[in-house]
Symmetry: C2
Subunit: 298 residues, 2 copies
């Protein structure tokens, strides 16, 4: 078990470095009038890179195409990064601290933050269609479709709209889960499915990977709500206690702290069970990623 943990830590570090390097290559430093600088500030040298790691691990599990997986990994991270930039703006969550640094609009101004987010979304799709033969066209088209659906009105953006409309409203658990299934769950699940789309997965494996991705997405959010209560801002790298202060419904406000913690465990069990039923040969890293999400401290 110890060596297993060490293996995962080494795998994670190697892949995080690979993603960081690729993002640094692909997010343009020379975009005009400071735009490139704002884009790079929003993306580089920060974050756990959970979504890229999910893409890469799933791609490995299905014997996927490495070049496509790395592009897909970076594309989901760019969508995630742009959503944070826009979400932090004064008209949304009005947050000033992210990953321990001033947020993009604090550093570069609101207009530049808005444009940087917009340009990051476009770049996410551009990465998926490299214009050479490194990613087959049918795979590139499928990856674009999966990403667009996860990012748009039926996915992340739609979930953010529901979140905005939920302030001060007593959501029940199904409503709260439906909101998070879109807001954060759609892109986390898409990371898994896009990883699978870089290779060949049986229909049964795809179903179980989808179940794994959905459970992992839900567990991520429950743990996020728990951490918002029990961790401090320095550890989180963002403002703690924010949700409660904003009168937003959370799993902790709905079911209490201890219940939320045990609910996270049950949801993680579901993620592990899905992998066990996928028929895939080597899911050790995907199992370890689920545990990493469930037991993280920030």
């Amino acid at each position: 078990m110890l060596s297993h943990s060490l293996d995962f830590a080494a795998w994670r570090q190697a892949r995080q470095d690979e993603v960081e390097q690729a993002l640094s290559t692909w997010v343009p430093a020379d975009a005009p009038a400071g735009l490139g600088e704002a884009m790079r500030y929003a993306v580089l040298d920060g974050g756990k890179r959970l979504r890229p790691l999910l893409v890469l691990a799933t791609s490995d599990a299905v014997g996927g195409l490495r070049t496509a997986a790395l592009r897909a990994a970076c594309s989901v991270e760019l969508i995630h990064a742009y959503s944070l930039v826009h979400d932090d703006m004064p008209c949304m969550d009005n947050d000033v601290l992210r990953r321990g640094k001033p947020t993009v609009h604090v550093r570069f101004g609101e207009a530049q933050a808005l444009l940087a987010g917009d340009a990051l979304q476009a770049l996410a799709f551009e990465l998926l269609v490299p214009g050479d033969d490194s990613v087959p066209a049918d795979m590139a088209a499928l990856l674009c479709r999966l990403l667009a659906q996860a990012a748009g009105a039926t996915g992340m953006a739609g979930g953010q709209a529901v979140d905005l409309a939920s302030v001060g409203i007593l959501l029940d658990q199904p409503a709260l889960e439906a909101m998070h299934r879109k807001k954060t769950g759609a892109l986390l699940k898409a990371s898994v499915i896009m990883g699978a789309a870089t290779g060949r997965a049986s229909p049964e494996a795809l179903v179980q990977l989808g179940r794994y991705g959905a459970a992992l997405g839900l567990a991520f959010q429950v743990v996020d709500d728990v951490l918002d209560v029990i961790a401090d801002s320095v550890t989180l790298g963002k403002t703690a206690g924010k949700d409660a202060a904003a009168d937003k419904p959370t799993f902790v406000s709905l079911m209490g702290l201890a219940q939320a913690q045990s609910y996270a465990e049950r949801v993680l069990d579901e993620a592990h069970a899905a992998l066990d039923q996928s028929g895939l040969d080597d899911t050790a890293i995907l199992h370890a990623l689920a545990d990493w999400v469930g037991r993280r401290a920030y």
Copy 2:
């Protein structure tokens, strides 16, 4: 010549109706928490649909695939629409009137406007990859690539960043044209090239269509600057005199009104010449579109 004009007017009306109908189908009414309503408000029942018309006319000129062309036409309009929503926001141009109606953030609030713009960009890419066999995968991937490049840091978003940084600065004509080549020119040119990508165009035709698209984009902007001076807000459907009030460089402030008007004519001549050298059989509609851009009153 009269019948020619009537032909164009009939073609334009028919295609505008087709685009309006398609957009009404594809922009979701049921996106959650008012997001769909804001998206539809931003897109439907307004605008000249110049970009879609360019896609459709170019596709026709190269014998392109109609299903792909209609999707591409709507995708460029969604990118255009999202850019207007974000551009009108208080942190950018802070405009309250667009197409004769209150802007999206005035009507739905800033947060919803931000999300609606974000979701419209995602939808633009989703339209290009329909997930059935109505658009071949290699064509869909190419269309995504062209759209992403035109919308992102090297295209529209980059041009907006330059525009932001240019307030109160005396740009010379090359710098002003470079800014507009990105800010509005990239998407207009992409509309032409994406139309061409739905069919088969010879290398020479592609070069000349690119030249046509670039000239048309420049003419569009010069005329825009002229109209900002000589037209009133009711005719324009947006706030007139805005650029001068914002101390932004324009072709009129740079070269004077009469010179700007004759410059627009010369640039239009370039667009017509490119079509004449394209080797394409039927470019009547593309010629008429250039004249429509050059002689519009709003």
